[in-house]
Homo-oligomer: 346 residues x 2
């Protein structure tokens, strides 16, 4: 099977620093609950079953690619998926993910076992195989969570309002936190390697909770793990995207991770980011809630993001965060069309 | 009664651009639940009763001033207090504040009535009188919510995860949003005027949800209301502090508001802020969770904030957000002592 290349794919062209034939767009959580066909699958299976059953994961990954003219797919999975086989199985049945007992002590972190993804997470590789054989022309993105975000879930035992437990760990026993973050980085690196070998043409690391720390702490605690992941992926030759929340505050450190492209949240202006990262392709960053606004505003705001993106070394259009469950699919269709039509001014 | 002056108060000295006799410190939510004496009052009265009963509000305002060597007090109240008399009474009895029916339509916004604080919110002025007559030497801060934050509460009907309703309003009917924000600015300005006339030596505007919008939208929708408030307060001659979440992303626009000092959240470095706002005294910005860390880390991190603050035109030490309910009071005592001892390097 031939994989998509920068010649055939606008998405890969931008990430390779080339001029694309059109501005590429995909959106975070595009395989998701806003689609009626996704909800239909979800009625028959739990979120966990969908993640771990290759046919179901492949089906919902393919759904948005059938419905929309998207420039990339992203495998349906969850950033917490690799943590189950390590010994921390999250329960998704009560709304947000929950651990029966949050991990707080050093020995609990030490008990987390590094696993071989081919043995324990083979269902992800299988799902990737199913998707890429059905749509070999569309680049498929593999993904993983950034170590800080994963550590937060483990230590808080789920989502959190103030992240007091993971922060108290960092502020009291920094060396214990560093060891945990490093172990998670190792597992995520292995998981991403497997996804690329299974057929993914790009990877994205999600640091959804990058905005919880002081910028010096972000550099000290979050960046080394991300850099380790990026370095491990480098020999595989696929573009590595880093999504990070927290506006531009951590931008200098994000550049230090070695990521090939940065995906930014909706609070910052891509033109400002481009000024400070002139050689890095940028991805983003329309506020997902704009898709709940009027058609006029969707078009106006999408074009504004395109104009800011034109200042970057390359621009992959995306939302600044995952698409919301209640978004009308028609709004996404309008967005995709607007982005593809928009011409750079130069 | 003589009010504190920049000569007598390190807090007012910094805000006046002068060298203080010591580095001033106060902390957001210092009159709060982390104090056993506060919890004792709270056992006898609801949060709403405490806000609206001058003796109780004064008592809890005074509690931290008795226990700690703080450089300023802040009147116990809530940013939502002025909204009740306008016609939007929040219920605090179920955890977070809740409106029976969120305000979503233009006529609901138009029905909000501008009120005379002296008539409808006199209990706040009375509480201020009680505090300043007991502790006339300590500057007391009056406060209000920024229009965007207040509008978010009204339109979401309480707290929110994604702020989709206030944003959908802004993205669909911007002119309706602007009218609402302007009305709220007018009410907050009146409320702050009353607080100054009642004895407050400084005011702070809280824009807790400043980080929800793209920076261009923040400038367009949030800044005009804040600027209006600042302009209305200018003739009274008291320093006006603006607290804004969202790191440094919106810094240029915060400077446009006319605020005398900026209070920043814990994610950014005060030295970076000082570089971009060299003439503005800064307030902040230790992560509140640091007070849950080890003593060594509290001291080390407080000193780091002081060193960054030394680069600013002036530094009022504070947390980057409100002190947490579970914080041991001893940790705050250690922080205050550390800050007062720290000497600038020059």
């Amino acid at each position: 099977m031939t994989r998509p290349t920068p010649e055939s794919s606008p998405f890969l062209a931008v990430l390779a620093g080339r001029r694309p034939s059109r501005r590429p767009i995909w959106v975070m959580r595009q395989a998701g609950r806003y689609l009626p066909e996704y909800r239909k699958v979800r009625e028959t299976a739990s979120f966990h079953t969908m993640c771990t059953t290759p046919e179901l994961a492949a089906e919902v990954t393919l759904q948005p690619l059938r419905r929309f003219d998207l420039d990339a797919g992203i495998i349906f999975s969850d950033i917490l998926t690799p943590l189950g086989p390590m010994g921390a199985e999250f329960d998704f049945s009560q709304g947000g993910p929950k651990l029966t007992a949050p991990l707080r002590e050093e020995r609990a972190f030490e008990a987390l076992e590094l696993v071989e993804p081919r043995e324990e997470l083979g269902f992800v590789a299988e799902a990737i195989g199913l998707v890429t054989s059905e749509r070999p022309e569309i680049p498929l993105i593999g993904f993983g969570g950034a170590p800080l975000t994963l550590a937060s879930y483990l230590v808080e035992g789920g989502g959190s309002k103030d992240f007091r437990h993971i922060k108290a760990l960092i502020y009291s026993r920094p060396e214990v936190a560093v060891a945990l973050l490093d172990k998670l980085a190792e597992q995520v690196a292995r998981h991403l390697e497997m996804q690329v070998e299974a057929g993914c043409s790009a990877v994205q690391v999600f640091d959804s909770w990058a905005g919880i720390l002081h910028t010096d702490d972000y550099r000290r605690f979050a960046v080394p793990g991300i850099a380790k992941i990026m370095a491990r992926l480098a020999p595989l030759g696929v573009p590595r995207i880093l999504f990070s929340k927290g506006g531009l505050t951590n931008l200098p450190w994000l550049l230090e991770t070695g990521a090939d492209a940065l995906s930014l949240d909706w609070t910052c202006d891509l033109a400002d980011a481009a000024e400070r990262a002139p050689r890095t392709p940028l991805q983003g960053n329309l506020d997902p809630v704009v898709l709940h606004g009027s058609e006029t505003e969707i078009v106006r705001r999408a074009e504004a993001v395109c104009r800011s993106g034109d200042r970057a070394a390359g621009h992959v259009f995306n939302l600044g965060h995952g698409i919301l469950t209640e978004t009308p699919p028609e709004a996404l269709a309008l967005l995709i069309d607007t982005v593809h039509r928009h011409q750079p001014e130069d």
